[in-house]
Symmetry: C2
Subunit: 363 residues, 2 copies
């Protein structure tokens, strides 16, 4: 029997419901900028040792919740767990990004690809259940996955890339191969997110981190269409409560209308977007999540408060659709170089400075 | 006495005038993907040896013009010549990007910064004059500079960056310092481009390569305003002919209306933008340059022709403002890994497939 939720501001804002203050959480809030995270990471021995152990994952997921007045927790995991479960062989070299031993480079490799048995991802679902218990209803827990396209980028490139040359060569030269990868990814991601919901995730987010590198036209066919396939298969409720679906395309500004029409409850936006204009483009039925530049956190308290105020004001500019439907966040993951005390300034400023926008008229 | 221009399609398209076919040139068309470039580079001994020698610069500028039916040449030079002339100490380590020995990291360094004596950039203007002579009127020559903001990124970071942490920290924490750098850069860039025009450049382009990393609001104050200052100071004519001004902000899609209102003749756009929608946003008085994903050139001839056709069709979608005002280009520099023979396919496809759009009605 799960503990009753003590702070549902985040879930309510995702669904466009009235809230007393704008809720806030930060992408990568459980991460290297926190000394307590680095201590756990050292005990775990490696990044994979940390990410695949439900106890460690629980510990680091709760660290920012203990330190800051955040309104949501997000599962600590890696974006590449699903392709790893497909047998591509994920590894992390010290000081480098992720790498696959067996990237998808030819027709035979693509032909062999299959939707993985979710039992291989049991450690993730165990972590979700463990975190839910540890949170004991303090804030809701967000589950997540990479989008089919973003996973495909890593699966074909085998690592991060500056130019996405290999996956885009496949896109333009052998679109049939890429479509097969994406169809399998869409099915796998939907199963993966639904299993996270079953394990206790109270909202789920699809990170289309590399959607923004696609050309207009290609984005719609190779990213958006497969994100839509995932969303159509996702569970909508758990424990009798709606599970919000969040889609975040980094660099997705050019396609906000189309992203807003996907059927997700919340669209995440990066800092290049003006929130008021974005609201007009996605429509009043969709909430927005974002969008402070993480580099603001390197400035002093006064500058941080000023930028928080500007972000809140941009959401409420015009204000025709009312004050609801905003989840404050960064426009990208928090930098490992962030001074931890600056995050307090940010979180407190969001709550304090957003309150007047939510006050009933006349108060 | 300059040779008469034999192919003015590019200049005419920049000014929205009627042309028989859509002109095409490619960002970084003189570069590493060409074996003849690599041979000249080897003779020059180093990248700086190549870029600072007018004879070598002339040779490599003409190489793609000799090989392909391109409609414009662009000065071979480096984007960081101006900060180098300011005394920041540019160097290129083998296999790495550019690096400054003395980046602008504190108030004292910013206070010492001055607009450089253009005599220090004489080698660039000599290259422009030499290239004009060598071209002998075959196609027009484009001069260029980095934008004030893009130069400032390198000047503060000291090298390329993934997150622009140092320059954005200055932006949010000490905007006064950044504004001083940008004001000096704007003056220097205007002097630099005007000297290129005096030396024979028939069009000039401002590369705001890193404008797209800025947040909405910050882009307008720290990039756009200073690009506008440059444009206001630029010469409009040379040899009795209009010198088109081109502005390209990589990732500038969110701000196309504002960029289109800068007063430039041409706005360059990357591949995330739909050309027909971009036309509607910048207005009929401004031409567009772009916007094929350079990765298309890794596919085969049929796919390249298909993507060229799609790009041309996107420009002419709706077509209310008529068929003119398009300069075909990539949405970013050509990759060093591009097969040279694929560039022929691209260039010839642009000319062949655009001709019907430009035919007089009824023919």
């Amino acid at each position: 029997m799960p503990s009753p939720l003590q702070n549902d501001t985040f879930l309510r804002a995702c669904l466009g419901e009235a809230v007393p203050v704008t809720p806030v959480w930060l992408m990568r809030q459980a991460g290297r900028y926190l000394p307590e995270y680095r201590a756990t990471r050292a005990r775990a021995g490696s990044f994979m040792g940390l990410a695949t152990n439900p106890d460690f994952a629980t510990e680091v997921t709760l660290q920012p919740i203990d330190r800051y007045a955040l309104d949501a927790a997000i599962l600590f995991s890696d974006i590449l767990t699903v392709p790893d479960a497909m047998g591509l062989g994920l590894s992390f070299a010290e000081g480098e990004g992720p790498r696959f031993e067996r990237p998808l480079r030819d027709e035979a490799a693509v032909a062999r690809l299959e939707v993985p048995d979710m039992a291989r991802l049991r450690y993730v679902f165990d972590a979700v259940a463990s975190i839910r218990r540890a949170l004991a209803g303090r804030v809701p827990l967000i589950g997540f996955s990479g989008s089919p396209w973003t996973l495909a980028c890593y699966m074909v490139e085998g690592a991060g890339s500056d130019d996405y040359r290999l996956v885009k060569t496949m896109l333009y030269a052998r679109p049939d191969l890429l479509h097969r990868i994406l169809a399998i990814n869409a099915e796998a991601v939907a199963l993966y997110l639904n299993a996270q919901i079953d394990a206790g995730a109270q909202a789920v987010m699809i990170f289309d981190s590399w959607g923004g590198v696609l050309a207009d036209g290609a984005f719609q066919r190779f990213s958006l269409d497969y994100t839509r396939q995932v969303l159509r298969r996702l569970k909508r409720e758990a424990d009798g409560r709606r599970v919000p679906h969040i889609v975040f395309t980094k660099g997705g500004g050019p396609w906000l209308e189309a992203i807003g029409a996907l059927g997700a409850d919340v669209v995440g936006v990066d800092w290049t977007v003006h929130l008021g204009q974005a609201r007009a483009r996605v429509g009043a039925a969709v909430a927005l999540q974002g969008n402070l530049d993480p580099n603001v956190l390197f400035a002093g308290a006064e500058a941080i408060r000023g930028e928080v105020a500007a972000t809140l004001a941009s959401f409420h500019a015009g204000s025709a659709p009312g004050p609801n439907g905003h989840v404050f966040n960064l426009g990208h993951g928090i930098s490992q170089h962030t001074p931890p005390e600056h995050v307090s300034v940010l979180v407190d400023a969001v709550h304090e400075l957003s309150r007047p926008y939510h006050a009933p008229a006349g108060t």
